[in-house]
Amino acid sequence: MTLGSDLPQPSQALAGASGAQAPPPRGMPDAPPWHAQYGDIIPRQLPPPPWPHLPAALRAAAQRYGAGIAFTTVMPNGMYGSLTYAEVDRASDAFAHYLRRVCGLEAGDRVAVQMPNCLSYPVAVVGILKAGCVVVNTNPLYTPDEMKHQFIDSGAKAIVLVDLFADKLESVLADTPIQHVVLTKVPEFFPPLVKQITYGVMKYWNRVIPAHRLRCVGLPQAMAAGTRAAGGATVDAYHAGATHDDIALLQYTGGTTGVAKGAMLTHGNLLWNLSQVQAMTGSHIAEGKEVVLTALPLYHIFAFSVNFLTMYLAGARNLLIPSPRPVQRVQRALENYRVTWLTGVNTLYNALLNEEWFIAFPPKHIKAAAGGGAAMHQAVVQSWERQVGAPLVEGYGLTESSPVVCFQPLHGERRQNTIGIPAPMTEIRLLGDDGAEVGAGEPGELCVRGPQVMAGYWQRPDETAKTIVDGWLHTGDVAVMHPDGTFQIVDRKKDMIIVSGFNVYPNEVEDVLSRHPSVLEAAVIGVPNEKMGEEVQAYVVKREADASAAVLEAHCREHLTAYKVPRKIVFRDELPKTAVGKILRRELRKEVLGGS
């Protein structure tokens, strides 16, 4: 298991020479072009993270910001519950004791966490890390079969599960290695009366809490048992031996291309990546003063690294939204708190910009917003910046890279429709089909090397070998580099449509479609065609009832070369999406081709 931080870093040597913002000396033509864009704001070189492992970093933050509020869960009606940094620290200690002393887990054992955003999430995750165990982030919307696969594959011995999905676990539990089930509630850690009311509404009014016969223990009881068993001992011994090379997180991915694989993200990967995010965003983060809206699920790597880890270490207050769809459910959170930062995917920003309440009173204190997960549409970015008056920067990353690789810089001019520039200490190469680097301005597969690149896929050496070649992570995304070092994703390699031998990238067509005022969302796929090989088809959700295919086709003809114009435009009420709101072209293709 190699780790990025141990790899020789060419940029390290380079930055050492060019340190203190001096121009790179002659004879070093290899200075990556994007360094010029770092300006005086983004450091070219980052010192290694000062902590040996995540628990040390999290503990340091808790001691520094003790009485500050770390997390607030905001329900759709505005009801809320909060935990301070000190409370998260104490509760996670208790939970760590429970895992080690009551369940008898060992360092390195896997513990699954399966819940929407709520106060139990940070308590469980920090507790698992303090116990020296490995967090297995699990999407709560998984089907029982998907859960079973993930629990068997990861070898999870314990799980912290929200009661909303207890029946799903019950149906597969016997087939998994899980021995200990800890159950929690969305309003866990809420003030007494508010907790009972919120829970009562969920159980008896909305009836979303299923009956089950799981043998389990409640999170508060587990914490109490842990504290009793510890008898005053500290948690330090549980993770004392951990290093940057030890796995902290198994983040499953690739369920889209086949069977889900667990990306092994180490303490070093995550600590480095949060340093890199800090370096890219530090100009817009005031320590201890930020309020971050976390509508993306924390079980997704983007929210996990950026919202949770980076912002926790910056002393921010995280507003956790258990379920942001429909997007009206974040209204009270945006109204009742001075939100300064938010992260999201294109669909979230688009949805917000289509809400009357958001447009009428756009939040006033936003400093910056970050978009990722899928390509941002320029119409959405422009509309956001006009309405909110703060930058919406697009980033790029993968589960396999903890996740941040590139971000548009918050300072200076931004080149729209790009993923910005690589984070410090990150190297990028664009490779052609022949495996050699492509020429300037030509598209090639984006490959990444840096301390944030995963150690590999859990127990899948051949998959790892296919993905990480000589230390370079092959992303499967096709990109071009502009002369100034800004990167632009052209598309997913496998989503590319080939019309009579011409490459059509769905992103480009979708972007044009969504610029039309009557289009709310659009997805573009390739469908087999006898004459042309493939033809372009667009699936559109209308904003206004009177939109017609003819009008949209004319609009496309105006902005696109003929072969890129959709042959067929179909109107739909909705498009298939992932849990975070990424539009699933593959699902759409399956629906369309399977239904004919």
């Binding site: 505005g78 009801m79 009366l193 508010v194 109204e335 179909v570 369309v592 081709l593 239904g595």
Partner: protein, 302 residues
């Protein structure tokens, strides 16, 4: 007759209900809603244009004596009741519109109730009229908890949401309180009361539902919103009318005037329940039709 203690208790309950109702939304919600005021304006037209007129027409057509007319017209002029929100929720209507209409009509009541009541009770003989200044005073007192509630929702969402719930619970308690305390004592009166009184007490709500829906559709409101407005139009703040009567008529006339407001308050629970089931069925049917259309579209797209 309500005893003095009962009147006071009813007054306190009303203050709590109004506070809870106010807590259901923030001032910003108003500002946002009034950017597209069409539905809410139609709703207010139904509330203060249609309902008082229906009440008055029923009184005229059935040639009711003045002691009944005053109770009936008073109910017709009342703002929307808080229970409408619960029924709207269960009927799968637009809860936000329902809440907004209830709070809006309550805030407007201080002007609208004396105006409409004055207009439709002009012809009343003798001293059966209710002095508008008394109503204004009472509504002003109730305006304070409503506004405090609205402020609380913004200031502390937890306390606001809890108060909203407490208000709804008390809204139901008031009806239970009436059933338990008033009916047994007035059994003889209820037995000797003519059928026309029962008829108008039930018909007012039903006509409110029907004409509220028709007028909304006529004003180009979509069917789901029209059903919400219909529900809101039919369901009046009965307990508020009872409070007004018991504070205005302090002699033996009170029992007669109270008859229609109390009967209305009891029967509206039953009729609303029936309408809720009907509207819920309609909404589900529309949703299914839309789903079928969607599946058809996917088939066509392939």
């Amino acid at each position: 007759m309500l005893t003095e203690l009962e009147t006071k208790l009813l007054g306190i309950l009303m203050i709590i209900i109004m506070f809870g109702m106010g807590s259901s939304l923030t001032f910003k919600d108003f500002a946002i809603a009034f950017r597209k005021p069409h539905a809410i304006l139609v709703g207010m037209l139904c509330q203060y244009g249609l309902m008082p007129f229906i009440a008055f027409s029923l009184a005229v057509l059935l040639r009711l004596p003045p002691e009944y007319v005053v109770g009936l017209v008073l109910i017709g002029c009342m703002p929307g009741g808080t229970t409408s929100n619960i029924f709207t929720y269960f009927s799968k209507g637009r809860l936000s519109l329902s809440i907004l209409m209830t709070v809006c009509s309550t805030l407007m009541a201080i002007v609208a109730v004396p105006l409409t009541l004055g207009l439709y009770s002009r012809g009343l003989e003798g001293d059966w009229g209710i002095p508008p200044s008394e109503i204004t005073k009472l509504l002003f007192v109730l305006l304070v908890p409503t506004l405090l509630g609205i402020a609380l929702r913004k200031f502390n969402a937890n306390a606001g949401a809890v108060m909203e719930l407490v208000g709804s619970v008390f809204g139901v308690l008031v009806i239970v309180f009436l059933l338990a305390s008033w009916i047994p004592r007035n059994w003889a009166l209820l037995m000797s009361t003519g059928g026309s009184v029962y008829f108008v007490a039930i018909a007012l709500g039903l006509f409110g539902f029907a004409f509220g829906y028709l007028l909304s559709r006529l004003m180009r409101i979509d069917s789901i919103r029209a059903r919400t407005i219909s529900m809101e139009t039919g369901i009046q703040n009965g307990p508020l009318a009872i409070l007004i009567v018991s504070m205005t008529f302090l002699d033996e006339r009170q029992a007669l005037v109270l008859l229609i407001p109390i009967l209305y308050s009891i029967f509206i629970v039953l009729t609303s329940t029936a309408i809720t089931f009907y509207y819920r069925w309609l909404t589900l049917r529309e949703e299914q039709a839309r789903d079928r259309a969607k599946i058809g579209l996917i088939g066509a797209g392939a």
